[in-house]
């Protein structure tokens, strides 16, 4: 699998992803990798309805996401992976998925989280996972869309 973008965005497929990222990456599939969303049949069904024209969208749990990654059938497929949180990304990386850079697009504010940029709020578990990803040398960059300047997450986490 050719991962053209790994993005954390808890809105999953929405305007910025459907109109901007799908085009600039030239992906043929958008794969939502999340255990909770995969269990939520309504949300999963709706996500499949909003795939941009010519792009297939899928919702899978993390275990399956790793299997799909390793399936030679998708070896040359350009895939955009979407996550809701860094802990899911860490799971993938720890199970051998080659992700060199993670784009953080949006993590909404909830009770118990604190806001680090306009679009990104994190809780303790998020911070822990981001730190581990950073230790593995994975780039963690905050951008809503491709033309934004990259803001390094570790710089604003301090």
């Amino acid at each position: 699998m050719n991962i053209v973008l790994a993005r954390i965005d808890d809105r999953l497929i929405h305007g910025q992803v459907a109109t901007v990222w799908s085009k600039v990456t030239g992906c043929t599939r958008i794969i939502v990798c999340d255990d909770d969303v995969a269990k939520d049949t309504i949300r999963a069904t709706l996500l499949k309805q909003v795939a941009p024209a010519g792009i297939k969208s899928h919702v899978v749990d993390l275990e399956k996401a790793v299997r799909v990654y390793n399936n030679p059938k998708y070896e040359n497929e350009k895939c955009l992976l979407l996550f809701t949180n860094p802990t899911s990304v860490l799971y993938m990386v720890e199970h051998g998925v080659d992700i060199k850079s993670v784009n953080i697009g949006g993590m909404s504010f909830k009770e118990g989280k604190h806001q680090i940029t306009g679009a990104v709020s994190v809780d303790d578990q998020d911070i822990e996972s981001f730190k581990k990803l950073n230790e593995k040398g994975i780039e963690l960059e905050i951008r809503k869309v491709d033309t934004d300047k990259k803001v390094m997450l570790m710089d604003v986490l301090k």
Partner: protein
């Protein structure tokens, strides 16, 4: 580059550009021109001319108007009729504007008529319906 001017009745144009920026980020070569109650076509023409001065319009101007036959449209016609590098598309919508903003990044706009076609197509494909009865998984290829 070509310039994009969104011209509408009331503040719709300004807000539409802001909505577009929520999705595509800041747009440097897009202007919003509004017709405020009490203003007439001459005022709008003056605002268009002002906007053209501020934007990079070397390769042309694409006017996106809200209503065919409305004052912002009529005012744009006055400028478009004497310049082959200018064009108008009506029925401006968010999908249309987003498509033209991404076209602006990739296309110099030298073929204004092709851009106009592309804007119309984006506006059309932005019209979709959804109803519970439309949910279909059958053509969904499983991973």
């Amino acid at each position: 580059m070509f310039g994009i001017i969104v011209g509408t009745h009331g503040l719709f144009a300004e807000e539409l550009v802001k909505s577009c920026e929520m999705i595509c980020g800041e747009q440097k070569n897009v202007a919003a021109v509004t017709l405020i109650p009490g203003e007439g076509p001459d005022d709008v023409v003056a605002k268009y001319e002002e906007a053209i001065k501020k934007l990079d319009c070397e390769d042309g101007v694409l006017f996106l108007n809200d209503l065919f036959g409305g004052s912002p449209y009529n005012a744009a016609c006055r400028l478009v009729i004497s310049n082959e590098k200018y064009g108008i598309v009506t029925g401006v919508s968010l999908p249309m504007l987003i498509e033209m903003c991404s076209a602006q990044l990739a296309d110099d706009g030298s073929d204004i008529k092709a851009l106009m076609e592309r804007a119309v197509e984006a506006g059309r494909s932005g019209l979709q319906t959804f109803h519970a009865s439309q949910i279909a998984d059958d053509d969904e290829e499983d991973l």
